[in-house]
């Protein structure tokens, strides 16, 4: 469906919109709560190229809505 496609295009790992941030009580430039857990649990198996600020990416990159980035082949995984 069209709605689902729009989600896929707009929502990316590493970026959390201000709407969702508000729901989570997370301000801009703040790391989401699961990032600390990733230190013990590990990085996502399906995002081998995921970079997270403060974990495996320079903490300087943490700003605004962005806390991480996903590049490379893992980024466009589809059915």
């Amino acid at each position: 469906e069209a709605l689902w496609k729009r989600y896929r295009d707009q929502k990316r790992p590493g970026r959390i919109s201000s709407k969702l941030r508000q729901a989570m009580g997370l301000s801009e430039g703040q790391l989401p709560p699961w990032c600390t857990k990733m230190k013990t649990v590990g990085l996502p198996p399906s995002y081998p190229d995921l970079k997270i600020a403060g974990l495996n990416w320079d903490i300087e990159n943490l700003r605004g809505e962005v806390y991480g980035t996903l590049k490379g082949p893992g980024a466009t995984k589809t059915t």
């Binding site: 929502k11 729901a23 699961w34 857990k37 996502p44 059915t79």
Partner: protein, 96 residues
Amino acid sequence: MNASVNNPETTVYVGNIDPTVTKEDLYELFVQVSPVAGIRYPKDKVLQVHQGFAFVEFYTSEDCQYVIQLMNNCVQLYERTLKVRRANAQQSGDAA
């Protein structure tokens, strides 16, 4: 009715969701940690409000395991802590 979310091996149950949370919010949240294959987020037929739980399907059971470990009791949406568990076959079916 909804064939897109039906594999219990790759599906997690998410509970304690505030009714104002949208399907879009859930997608945005879970896509942060694994690619999402589908979401079933039922509404009460009469009241037209969400019932506080959802089923989120991933592509592999490995992803599913990982998400349960990482996200259970981790995130709060509107001050309610999300519960993430393995979905069982009965719950993820349409019969209830």
